[in-house]
């Protein structure tokens, strides 16, 4: 197994409140590993510690305990951040720059040679649909345009790891799709993407692995497919007698009438097969049998509620 690109162990950030002598545990011992080439989604309710976790990774905030590594190096070493592209949440790019100048400046800080910076800036402005705005001061850009420019900024030096904090915040649906397409292309090229978002549909569409954090701790983590897989089987039948319905009610997790059909949901395959046998014997018509997957929203809400937090 290759070495993780992001690795944290017991990472914690506590903010002491001097007046009330309380301690706010923004991040409370997070251990995570993100493998190369993975699209990783970090989820959590507002105030669960997502952004503080990202700031810990990028050396904006000092940890109270634990450690974080990027590319196997301590994240406090500047060199560890050389191949990281970052789009912060609520970014405030200097408005005196034009789009081109802004890309050029941040790429220079990443150590990119001048000639390459110029070429790459033009290429990316084209990619994010801002080529015509390249010489306009970014104070005149809309929120969605700034977000796209921010994404271009993060991609400038062709980083192996992209950390995106709410990348589609303020972007219209078309722009959101565009951003997803760009990120999809990067993913196919092998870029590791760490997505911090509260948009579950975005994470569900895009990520391979997910961690749900609540109250500064990892409440659930793993491959997205495993999290949402196998929550049960749905069986739809017609002409179900009252007696058969009553018998199946004991086995089914839910029973609902729907446009002349009866929908049963069963927790496992065995129960579903027994129900099919029973319905066939009772002369009912089976319309469909389908495996039902949980949505990420179901998993998220359940996880957060179990952790004792309001989603």
């Amino acid at each position: 197994m290759p070495a993780p690109i992001i690795e944290t162990e017991g990472l914690a950030k506590h903010f002491p409140r001097f007046w009330s002598r309380r301690v706010v545990r923004a991040v409370d011992g997070i251990s995570l590993a993100v493998q190369p080439g993975v699209a990783f989604g970090l989820l959590g309710p507002n105030g669960s510690g997502k952004t503080t976790f990202v700031k810990l990774l990028l050396a904006s905030v000092h940890p109270t305990a634990g450690w974080a590594r990027l590319f196997g190096r301590d994240c406090w070493e500047p060199e560890a951040r050389r191949s990281v592209g970052y789009l912060p949440e609520n970014h405030r790019f200097p408005t005196y720059n034009t789009g081109f100048q802004m890309l050029e400046f941040y790429a220079a800080l990443s150590g990119m040679p001048q000639m390459e910076r110029h070429r790459r800036a033009k290429e990316l402005l084209e990619l994010v649909g801002l080529a015509e705005w390249h010489d306009v001061r970014i104070g005149k850009y809309s929120k969605g345009m700034l977000q796209r420019l921010g994404l271009a900024q993060a991609m400038m030096h062709r980083p192996a790891l992209l950390i995106l904090d709410e990348p589609s915040d303020g972007v219209d649906p078309v722009g959101r799709r565009h951003i997803r397409d760009i990120l999809g292309a990067l993913r196919r090229e092998g870029t590791t993407i760490f997505l911090n978002s509260h948009l579950l549909s975005e994470v569900e569409l895009f990520c391979d692995e997910v961690a749900i954090i609540s109250r500064g701790r990892v409440a659930l983590s793993g491959p997205l497919a495993d999290m949402t897989a196998g929550s049960g089987y749905r069986l739809r039948a017609e002409g179900v007698s009252e007696a058969a319905r009553e018998r199946l009610r004991e086995k089914a997790t839910t029973v609902a009438a729907n446009n002349g059909f009866i929908d049963f949901q069963f927790a496992d395959r065995e129960s579903a097969n027994q129900a099919i046998d029973l319905l066939r014997e009772a002369g009912s018509q089976i319309e469909s049998v389908a495996r039902v997957r949980s949505t990420l929203e179901d998993v998220f809400v359940k996880t957060v509620e179990q952790a004792g937090e309001k989603p």
Binding site: Y86, H91, F93
Partner: protein, 273 residues
């Protein structure tokens, strides 16, 4: 580092700070170019007119003296209004870096924190130094052409003024790191600038205090605080062609600046954003 310095320049241009300074300096240079007329008579003597009116009742005056006076005015401008304006204009350039949403992105780059802060410091210093040198070289060239007297010591005044600003800027930097407030940073820098005037008279000031410890405090404050007033005095002496009695104001202000700068970098390295 170059990218950070260039970015500071770009911000000063966008905020019109650079242009404002350039305008003031150009106005002063044009004033000497257009309003002052010096007719050289017999080499060292000259008739001087200002806005067409004769100075000193039309009498011939010593050119060297006139040049010293004018250069003295410019040096006084640099060390008073010039420094006030410079601190006022530049104090906003450092705290803007700490704005939420901007600092996180800068810190995510493969650049160490001291380097980030020093880049901003030297960028701000470069903006002001360019303007100070422009003013000094401009006035120097105008007077040189009009009087044929090329007083190289005047250039030393510019170096000292930039040095004085560099010292005050370390105060701005430290306060900005601690408070992220440009206004507070300006106030504290002004405090040191203003305090340098009475403290320079510490020999006369200390005996006014009745208690011995208060006299000691005045003396110590003089040695610890930056000596902006004394640096201005050194510039004046340089222009008059007189040597310095001591370099103490330079090195002690330098030590003060180093302490401020080190403290600023230390706090910046340990702060959470």
């Amino acid at each position: 580092m170059y990218a950070l310095v260039r970015d500071t320049f770009r911000e000063s241009l966008a905020r019109k700070i650079f242009w404002g300074f350039l305008g003031c300096s150009t106005a002063l240079i044009l004033f000497f170019l257009l309003a002052l007329n010096i007719d050289l008579v017999e080499g060292a003597m000259a008739a001087v007119t200002l806005f067409g009116k004769e100075v000193d009742g039309g009498q011939l005056v010593n050119v060297q003296l006139i040049v010293h006076k004018i250069l003295g005015v410019v040096a006084a401008f640099l060390f008073t209004a010039g420094l006030f304006l410079a601190v006022f204009a530049s104090a906003g350039l450092i705290p803007t870096v700490f704005e939420p949403g901007r600092i996180e992105l800068l810190l995510s780059k493969p650049v160490s924190r001291p380097r980030l802060l020093l880049g901003r410091y030297f960028g701000t210093l470069a903006v002001i130094a360019c303007n100070m040198f422009y003013l000094v070289l401009g006035v120097w060239a105008v007077l040189g052409v009009k009087t044929h007297i090329w007083n190289l010591n005047f250039l030393l005044a510019a170096v000292l003024a930039v040095f004085a600003f560099a010292v005050l800027l370390t105060v701005v930097l430290l306060v900005a790191v601690l408070s992220s407030s440009g206004v507070l940073a300006t106030m504290v820098a002004y405090f040191f600038l203003i305090m340098s005037v009475p403290l320079a008279q510490h020999a006369q000031l200390a005996p006014l205090f009745r208690r011995p410890w208060a006299r000691e405090v005045v003396k110590w404050l003089y040695y610890v605080f930056p000596k902006i007033y004394d640096l201005g005095n050194m510039a004046r002496l340089a222009m008059e062609g007189k040597g310095f009695q001591t370099w103490m104001p330079v090195w002690s202000s330098g030590v003060f600046a180093m302490v401020m700068l080190t403290a600023g970098l230390w706090f910046f390295a340990r702060k959470d954003y």
